[in-house]
Amino acid sequence: MNRYFYYHVFYIGMMNIMLFVPHILLKHRFDGAVSGLLLGIVVGSILAIGTIYCFRFFPQQGYPEILKMFVPAWVAAPMLYSTCLLWLAGGVLATYTFSQTMGIFFNPEMNHYHFLLLIIVASIFSGSRSTRTVQFSVEILFWLCVPFLLFILFKALFNPYLSWDAIRIVAGYFGRTPSLSVMASSTFFFTGYLSLTLFNRLNPANFRLKHVWSIPILGAMFGFVSFFIPIGFHGTVGVEQYVYVWSVTADSMYLKYGFIQRVLFLFLIMYTFLSMMFMMNVFHACMEYVKASVPGHKPQPEQLPVPKTNWIICGVFGVLCFLFSLWANEGRSHWATEIWLIIRFLFEIVNLIQMIIFAVLIKRRSSSAPSKSGQPAATSGQ
């Protein structure tokens, strides 16, 4: 079951491109992005590993169940709603950017809203599935994406036009202090661990996450790749002028042999999958949170046929996505994304503290009353 966790780490780490993380970092490339990246590895790893460690005390329980164990329902519900809103905002922002990117590079003549409709319908359908279904699909989709990822990475790193000099020059600016938004962006590469807050329900009782050491490595890889490769292709100065910097970077690679000449399209195919995965997970997680906020709700990772409530909740999320896109334009979505990244970063810190408190509490409970130790697992109902 280890691997499911890492799939989440993987696609959320990759999603940074759709949330303008490289854009924010590149804007600050001469004042603190490099140090921010390095610091982000440390902070992000602490957040990730700390939370993972805390979750060990709550086998088979998601965040809603844990929350309900310690606080009364009327406190838990608003907390769950705010968490849900936070994630949903991320999903909405990503959908918007994704539909923009696709509109620009794939169907420039098509109405943007039609396009959004397709994505939202797909997200509603996929998000309303059961938790186990989501888990399985993430795995299959991950394996669909990997060949594309490896190919593009290989193509980029061995490209004669990749200027290592430019990369070195930017790397030389590591002495600057990073700003909050840089820190928020650079810790995003590690956010995948938060999937544990929901998918821990599916993990068996004896679950121990292995290869935790690989989290810093993976996050650092995502960070360095999405920050430095555009610099290598567009130079230290030119890189700033592009809005969809990674799409343009992918377009700068060339396939000599093959049906497709522009790597851009491989990149877009991969990102369609990744974005849809992200949307599916966001919709699903938010839906589960909303459902869990009802007192007396019992989590059911496997539910067939899909209950109507799932459709309704996800439908509401879809409408929210649509409303956002009515309001947003490129500038606003940039601004909103930057703010969202910062809020997310603060939330993660709060979340870790909260989890540590809960972990300490449960440890005390179990040591003071050993007879009660089996209780939490029983009340949570798996």
Partner: protein, 360 residues
């Protein structure tokens, strides 16, 4: 599943079509931009449009050329739509030719149109047309199977791999235009009867063309800039005979020493086989021949580098290399700019002759 089907159907029904069939589109294969005589409409935009047919034989490529004068490229293209019956499509326009006069008189900012358009590939090729872009567009080589294919093949190194043809991509050019310590390079396409000759490059600084290299220099430049094999190394002998070596692999390393003036050391290693030589020359004095070739090559290269330096351009990116070696910041770059005109070059070449070819 029924519900999904219904929603999907609804979703499809409300969606208007962004569809435009392939046969309703006119493919631009080459775009040329020249300077016109009219100061109000300084740009003369020419598009070479593909007329495709089901048969792909040699010489079956047919194209149509449309030309317009306009105040800016974008306006010109928009206006040209009124001249044709199908939608203009730049998605497969891989070659952009800029007139020589245009480059000399206007700033390269006009190029931002190319980078901004979503459908223009970042991997399209840029070149200078001599005498102007339109005359380059007008040429249809006999052997061309697909419209515009001849230039795609020459620049893409898919067909010919000429040691004289330097490829310049859009993304590379727009990077060089902005980057500190490296300057743009554009190949020059000249017209000759019914074919193209692409054996020169034009070196530009951030604003204007500064220097045009001869074919020989172009080959030298290409050898060191893109490490391309398949070039040749010539050593004229005293008795008028010539030794020609095909270079199959070449490696160049640049080191820059920080001094009162920077010393740029270029270490070149190359290997290859002899293609033309007086009989038994190699066996008599293998190492001597290698050394003589190396010395001659170093000398040529040094002359070229000095010529480039004196023109005030830096297409090989020595400045960038310097900054990256010493993790340079703004101040270092200023210093570099002030001392680059006096920079010293030191070319060290190591030639390895693999053999005399098939005969002695």
């Amino acid at each position: 599943m029924k519900r999904i089907a219904i929603t999907l159907l609804l979703c499809l029904l409300v969606s208007g079509c962004g569809m435009k069939d392939i046969d309703k589109r006119f493919y631009v294969v080459t775009t040329g931009v020249d300077l016109s005589d009219n100061p109000a409409k300084p740009y003369r935009i020419s598009l070479r449009l593909a007329i495709t047919s089901a048969k792909a034989e040699s010489g079956s490529s047919r194209t149509e050329i449309q030309t317009i004068e306009a105040a800016s490229i974008a306006e010109g293209v928009r206006h040209l739509k009124a001249y044709v019956d199908k939608e203009l499509e730049f998605g497969h326009c891989r070659v952009f030719v800029l007139g020589k006069s245009l480059l000399e008189s206007s700033s390269p900012d006009a190029m931002s149109w190319f980078a901004r358009r979503r459908d223009i590939q970042m991997i399209s090729y840029f070149a200078v047309g001599e005498p102007d872009a339109l005359s380059v567009l007008k040429i249809t080589p006999e052997s061309e199977r697909y419209p515009g294919n001849a230039l795609f093949l020459s620049f893409g190194n898919e067909g010919t791999e000429s040691p004289y043809t330097v490829t310049s991509y859009l993304f590379d050019n727009s990077r060089r235009l902005l980057e500190k310590g490296i300057d743009p390079v554009l190949p020059i396409i000249r017209t000759q009867e019914k074919t193209y000759v692409i054996d020169r490059v034009m070196l530009l600084d951030k604003k204007k063309p500064r220097l045009t290299l001869t074919p020989g220099e172009t080959q030298l430049y290409k050898m060191i800039s893109s490490h391309s094999g398949k070039s040749e190394l010539v050593l004229p002998l005293e008795d008028g005979k010539r030794v020609v070596m095909t270079v199959s692999d070449i490696k160049a390393k640049v080191h820059i020493k920080r001094d009162s003036v920077p010393v740029i050391t270029v270490k070149i290693r190359m290997g290859g086989t002899l293609e033309e030589s007086p009989p038994n020359l190699l066996e008599k004095d293998w190492h001597g021949l290698e050394r003589r070739m190396a010395d001659r090559y170093s000398e040529q290269m040094e002359q070229l580098l000095i010529k480039i330096r004196d023109a005030g351009v830096d297409p090989l990116g020595f400045g960038l290399k310097y900054l990256s070696t010493y993790f340079g910041k703004e101040k270092d770059y200023k210093w570099w700019q002030s001392v680059y005109p006096e920079a010293k070059f030191n070319v060290v070449t190591d030639v390895r002759v693999r053999g005399p070819g098939v005969i002695r």
